[in-house]
Symmetry: C2
Subunit: 336 residues, 2 copies
Amino acid sequence: MVTVKDIAEKCGVSTATVSKALNGYGDISEKTAERIRKTAEEMHYTPNVAARQLKTNASHTIGVLFEDETNVGLTHEFFAAILNAAKVQAEKEGYDILFISRNIAGRRASFLEHARYRSCDGVLIANMNYSNEDVRKLIYSEIPTVTIDYTYNDHSSVLSANVEGEYELTKYVISRGHRKIAFVHGENTSVTKKRLIGFYRALTEAGITVPDRYIVESRYHDLESCRVATQSLLTLPERPTCILFSDDYSYIGARSALSEAGLSVPDDISVAGYDGIEMAKTLYPPLTTFAQDTEAMGKRAIQKLIEIIENPKTCRPEEIEIPGKLVPGATVSRIR
Amino acid sequence: MVTVKDIAEKCGVSTATVSKALNGYGDISEKTAERIRKTAEEMHYTPNVAARQLKTNASHTIGVLFEDETNVGLTHEFFAAILNAAKVQAEKEGYDILFISRNIAGRRASFLEHARYRSCDGVLIANMNYSNEDVRKLIYSEIPTVTIDYTYNDHSSVLSANVEGEYELTKYVISRGHRKIAFVHGENTSVTKKRLIGFYRALTEAGITVPDRYIVESRYHDLESCRVATQSLLTLPERPTCILFSDDYSYIGARSALSEAGLSVPDDISVAGYDGIEMAKTLYPPLTTFAQDTEAMGKRAIQKLIEIIENPKTCRPEEIEIPGKLVPGATVSRIR
DNA sequence: CAGACATACGAAAGCGTTTTCGCCGCCTGC
DNA sequence: GCAGGCGGCGAAAACGCTTTCGTATGTCTG
């Protein structure tokens, strides 16, 4: 392994000079700096990250908090897509991605401890239980964080435009002639609240009111709870003509309830999802949904995080909203 | 941040003693060791990973090489599932997961350089172009590696039982009465070769021969190439009654070719995939496929990797085969 | 030409660990 | 009573880098 010392000897200068030259201090004449950079290149020098980290307390590492109780983890298509975009962007900017866990060398620890242990420069938080105490501790620590789909007071986050998304989707459904529109939404989170706002806004504008029984809760990304919720809707005296779901994946659960009831989509009943994951396109007929721009979300999250890392003083917290796009699909029929 | 020095002072011993006690050297009396461990706990001591790494050259980090030209990356459901299992297992064993890229602090580098830079104890390699020179260099380096779905000479790998899998799947198709069976396989890799072996074995056992034109190549996880390959099969004078595909996802590409030709599955033509990803179940009718045990694959890969890391002398290279399971689905009709 | 002031570089300390080697005191066996 | 051995511990070096501060030149000014 070639070190600064080797380069220093070869160039006939001190290690201090080498370090400064390589890190672009103005302190060194351009001539020597150039010579040093060149020999470093020739000798295939790679800095020792541990030594540098020990000295500077910066690791050029971005931690990723990405977990959920159900262990769906990376197979959650929506979050996997965001994470992938984040990874690509981080690599482009010279940061590495490391997963934060609850284990340090076998010992149980908090996320914050782990992030500190690894000297993460910042942490990207996605798909977590945001009310978790360990998560809160991390967010309110000295380590820069960016959250996805949830905003803490005065902390930066990236969200998709949930109000507008659900609003547009609902408006589309209305434009197809539907009046009896049900909504199987996710558990009570800030995202859900926003989607409900968008949903009701569209209804109000169109002068439509729906009975409270049309609004039922299930859990995000949970087939079974969505199936049950859907079933309850189907037994209602006045059955809705269209059901909006919390997410595309959950719709699969709903589908079994629908086919059990002998209803075919979209002839007997219309449906729409949310997220716009790959799977939505593979369904037949293709699912009507609102596509979140996962690529932009991941990318912007990392950009913001790096901005905070590199300008800790001047960088202001920001709630970044990423617009999405309606995907008409073919599961909302035109009626009347 | 509390350091060994703080603990040493509090306990009235030297830092050397603290270090040894915490790392379980026999050199220290059980009494002092216990006292030190206890105060360390009380003071919420977490070792500084950089300092330790600098000294020992071991990082308790497992690198993951996970990339492909097409940037599908983590959204590749099959590999995402393997990676997720790997992550869970690594965390359980006290290792952290870091993505290996081609960038070091903004500079372009080889995978090996990156892995060295981060002092990865080992690297898990999945979903890569295995003929890539950079990958080879990493595999033949001093860093322990485990590959997924591909074996290099004398290096450890985890594979699903491809011969048996394709064999069973084909046998199943034959048992349903099919004789004209086509195979749209992936590009020419070791995995593909094995699947072809399994495919032909089943045919031979049943005394069936298929024309060469029934065997066409497409690319794994590539909708378009699969669509084209399928199209070519459909124009054949004697159309196959069943088509096997390289993977579940690719079938989506094939499906558009089928519906363009006005063929419905499984009434007009039967199909089967490979992988058994979540998506295969969400299709209607559910796809007949052979499910690889991604959870076991990821888990075993990490276990093997850690075994190599911790017993570099005694650990022998091993090709680990993980059995899978036939998923009958409903896309292969019974004929004749 | 003296003094002031940049400019270019080096010596050395220090980041928090681990690990070697040696010291001290005690025990054991003769 | 003494040599030799051993268990328990500490001093100090080392890992590779950054960074402060000091020094030695050269350059400019009046």
